[in-house]
């Protein structure tokens, strides 16, 4: 295909017009076929998960998420500890990551010297590029030893009256998994929140300052309220990431089908159980079907969460975020 075609190459005659009309038709056909790929994949994905999970759905129904016995040998499967583990680790991760990432996002858009804004944002976004399995590796061999020797004993000594900081200290635990998740979702929330804050019209800022607000007051009274729904969207997007995060959590959560009050105790998550057991569950077994059921639940939850996030960000971009 020549990049600078000679003038006679341009469609002027009837024949070449007809030819270009054909070209357009073929072109459009190819594009439509490619554009259909994504929806087709989604339908296939949903169908495969549903049909794969069907035996388990038939056997356990909704009690699947309220039972807590997981016994592949006796073919009894209940996912409550998994659902609990996923929700708890994601919640704890957000609890820590949200203030942190909003602090950074507000600082970078409102206060930081112009020169350092881009570099800091880039360094934090690079955190998002690190593969999950590397976080897991680092968590096992660097983070856990540090936590186990200093942070966890400190928590137990000073906050031991809280049931969540009682009991024997395990290295791989719900708390360890939550902390690695915090580091992993932070860049996502930060970068979306930053984009949202950058989209706040300068007029908001100027109006607040003109009324005598300090820069911080402008942030709390004019900027954050305007961006509220976008920020909530960013947080929900982070939640979606945390819920589906697999490798690092699998490597750090301890992988025990149990619900414990203590955060120092090992737990399990939906993604982790799939990662650990799927390869061993034989083709066509109820075990594989139960794991597919877990995947289906995980998929449904993340779709809902992401749809909610998109909706919030979209509302904010339309200027209706109040």
């Amino acid at each position: 295909m020549p990049t600078t075609p000679p003038p006679d190459d341009v469609a002027t005659s009837d024949a070449s017009l007809a030819l270009s009309a054909w070209g357009d038709r073929i072109f459009k056909g190819l594009l439509v076929a490619s554009a259909l790929a994504a929806p087709a994949l989604l339908v296939a994905l949903l169908w495969q998960l549903l049909s794969g999970a069907a035996p388990a759905i038939g056997a356990f129904g909704f009690s699947f998420i309220t039972d807590s016995i997981w016994d592949p040998v006796a073919e009894k499967f209940g996912a409550l500890p998994l659902v609990f583990g996923t929700l708890l680790t994601s919640f704890l991760a957000l609890l820590l990551a949200v203030p942190l990432s909003l602090g950074v996002a507000i600082y970078l858009t409102e206060f930081a010297p112009e020169r350092i804004r881009q570099p800091i944002a880039m360094v934090i976004e690079l955190l998002a590029a690190i593969p999950s399995v590397v976080y897991g590796l680092w968590g096992i061999f660097v983070m856990i030893p540090i936590l186990q020797s200093s942070v966890y004993p400190f928590l137990e000594a000073n906050f031991g009256w809280l049931p969540i900081f009682q009991g024997p200290i395990y290295g791989p635990s719900v708390l360890s998994a939550s902390l690695i998740l915090t580091i992993m979702v932070m860049p996502f929330i930060m970068s979306v929140a930053r984009e949202v804050l950058l989209a706040v019209p300068a007029g908001q800022r100027e109006a607040a300052t003109a009324l005598g607000a300090t820069r911080w007051e402008a942030v709390t009274t004019a900027i954050v309220p305007y961006a509220k729904s976008g920020i909530v969207g960013a947080i929900i997007l982070g939640l979606g990431r945390a819920l589906g995060e697999t490798m690092a959590v699998t490597m750090l959560i301890g992988n025990r089908h149990d619900i414990a009050a203590s955060l120092f105790a090992p737990g399990y998550s939906m993604a982790a159980v799939i990662a650990n057991e799927f390869a061993e569950a034989g083709l066509g077994t109820l075990h594989a079907s139960a794991l597919t059921y877990v995947a289906l639940i995980l998929f449904a939850v993340t779709v809902l969460v992401n749809a909610a996030a998109r909706l919030m960000i979209w509302r904010m971009n339309r200027g209706a975020g109040k």
Partner: protein, 272 residues
């Protein structure tokens, strides 16, 4: 008040930036020492023995990611062209929404999908199944990047070409796509980098292997899978190899990401 809050926020920035340096630092300290030529050219030795390399995993990653890109990249770019060329159409709206849904789908779920479609059908684990999973992950990423970059091409360029009598397909391929191509290439690199580090969808598709293999119809090793197996395994020697393999992986991923970011920012004055 402002001063106190700025102090708090600067602390937040330090806390947020720290992990990157801690992780990179540990990778270099623990991983660099065992990097040698033989690390790249050898295949694993029996557990417990010293030495051994990651040649099988590098070959595996290249093959699995390569096959995934072969499908995911052209399809993603074409879908991206569609959603910009036919912006208002119902299919474009649906495809855009679905791509966002797929982008947010946990990669392990996509792995289960590839398992039910490829592994169950074939009856055994294979590198092909791994590639299928990665291609599904790649498609929406490439599509959204392509779309964003095509939208940055000034509409006047397109109008000028159409006014000169160019047909639609030539306009969009030789004018619009060509203008945005450098950005799209870096976007594609970025998604290749992200895909290369994916572990979860390979666990029960490509499965991993201790041997050098070029047969894509059989289980195959991959760098991230190797990091996982070796990190969770019981041997000191394995842990050492896991660190080195992780270092190699991270260097590849970060170099691709940094290049992609710097290049797109220079060309378009913004991040993608």
């Amino acid at each position: 008040m402002s001063r106190i809050m700025v102090g708090v926020m600067i602390t937040a920035v330090i806390v947020a930036v720290l992990p990157l340096f801690l992780i990179l630092g540990s990778l270099i300290v623990k991983g660099a020492s065992s990097l040698s030529i033989s690390f790249f050219t050898n295949t694993p030795v029996p557990a417990g023995e010293d030495g051994g390399g990651v040649r099988h995993a590098i070959v595996g990653t290249l093959l699995i990611v390569g096959m995934a890109s072969l499908v995911g990249v052209p399809l993603g770019i074409a879908a991206g062209i569609y959603t910009t060329e036919f912006k208002g159409s119902r299919l474009a709206t649906i495809t855009r929404f679905v791509a966002d849904v797929l982008n947010g789908t946990p990669s392990i779920v996509v792995g289960v999908f590839a398992w039910t479609v490829v592994v169950v059908t074939q009856g055994h684990f294979s590198a092909l199944a791994g590639s299928a999973a990665l291609a599904v992950l790649m498609l929406p990423m490439v599509m959204r990047t392509t779309e964003e970059l095509l939208n940055l091409v000034p509409i006047t360029l397109r109008e000028a070409a159409l006014a000169l009598g160019y047909s639609r397909w030539r306009t969009s391929l030789t004018i619009v796509l060509r203008t945005a191509l450098p950005g799209i290439v870096t976007g594609v690199l970025l998604s290749v980098a992200r895909i290369a580090g994916e572990t979860a969808p390979l666990l029960f598709t490509a499965l991993g292997s201790q041997f050098l293999s070029y047969n894509v119809d059989r289980p195959m090793a991959a760098l991230p899978l190797m990091v996982y197996t070796y990190a969770t395994g019981p041997f000191e020697e394995w842990h050492r190899l896991a660190w080195s393999a992780a270092l190699v992986l991270i260097v590849v991923v970060l170099v691709l990401s940094v290049i992609a970011r710097v290049v797109t920012r220079q060309r378009f004055g913004r991040n993608v």
